[in-house]
Symmetry: C2
Subunit: 217 residues, 2 copies
């Protein structure tokens, strides 16, 4: 009765469909990051030829948008039942935790600036909460972009420990920087950096600024 048959000697070969392919794609990025999502790797994962995917997605962009769509649609953003502050904390806390659960997500969305239509769920929460306080629609949309930009950038920052240098790169780096060029090191947050507290602090500042704007109406 289950039509998910195993053809040939391929371990699992589900029916190809948008839903199944998006499932597999999320598996790839969760295991190995946004860079691991390629048409070829996905085709390999489901036991099919790369070109077969183009019957279900018009391009890699389309695939990425579908992944973002699925992930965002699987999240509830309007769970706060307090005042507007609590609603926004809930909404962007949910967005942040979604990004932390799927560390490849911010990179994926940043790739080519893909913004899935589902992103308008958190936008609607924001607009509703702020317009109820007398803020104009334009300003509430602007505030949405502020909150989203902050949340995504912080989540991306947290999810990106500086990758270790390849051994050959280390050797080249020593050779190059030993000849008059300054070091090109990057600095990371100290290991004891509290990302939760830091995010909460920034969000608090934004909410306080919003409150001032609302009071001044």
């Amino acid at each position: 009765m289950d039509r998910t048959t195993t053809t040939g000697n391929n371990p699992r070969r589900p029916d190809l469909s948008r839903d199944n392919l998006v499932d597999a794609a999320i598996g790839l990025i969760d295991r190995d990051g946004a860079g691991a999502l390629s048409i070829r790797a996905l085709a390999d994962a489901v036991g099919v030829t790369p070109m077969a995917l183009y019957n279900h997605f018009s391009s890699k962009r389309d695939l990425i948008a579908a992944v973002g769509e699925r992930l965002i649609r699987s999240t509830q953003f309007d769970g706060g039942h307090g005042d507007w502050r609590e609603q926004l904390r809930y909404c962007f806390g949910a967005l942040r935790h979604l990004c932390l659960r799927h560390p490849g997500l911010p990179d994926l969305l940043k790739l080519d600036g893909v913004v899935p239509e589902a992103a308008y769920a958190p936008m609607d929460v924001t607009k509703k909460a702020l317009q109820a306080q007398g803020m104009s629609e334009l300003d509430s949309v602007r505030t949405f972009f502020l909150l989203t930009g902050y949340t995504l950038s912080q989540a991306a920052f947290q999810s990106h420990p500086t990758p270790a240098l390849a051994p050959t790169e280390k050797v080249r780096r020593e050779r190059i920087s030993g000849r008059g060029h300054g070091p090109v090191d990057r600095r990371d947050p100290p290991p004891e950096w509290d990302f939760d507290a830091s995010f909460s602090f920034g969000l608090g500042i934004i909410l306080e600024g919003i409150e001032g704007r609302i009071r001044a109406r």
Copy 2:
């Protein structure tokens, strides 16, 4: 006397060096975006073999970091001579305009989370301005990340008009979405969107939030 000789029939072949290569790399990203910066394209642009670049950069990451380093170092961030509000407006206005002048820059920095050391110039401006108002060092660093995340995300958003679909992709999209799958369109800001005003609005909210935090000390 000028040692920038033209060898062979290559139009211009400057001496290879970090500085000259970074110059050429900036030329590439300014003309065709962050995606146009590849080891091979850069080698081609300066008339040399790809592998020659590895005598001057240890990896593509190293090259990207050097580009970011140069661009950020070429900018003045501490030009505001008013109160802390004006100093921060100047600092992050400068960062924003740098990103708009080099639309590939935010993408480049986002790539692998490269943060050039030079980014600590705007951080120092922020710390100095806020600690003078009694804010702790930790909170001023957190505020720096808030301001930077917001500024970069807005600039990236502004620099990324949705690219036109390739003709073949349009055909595939019609075929796919004509069969039960919902459309996977993306929405852009309306064409009359005022990015300057929107950025200024968000920055104002952040500054207002900071002021509240300062007053509550």
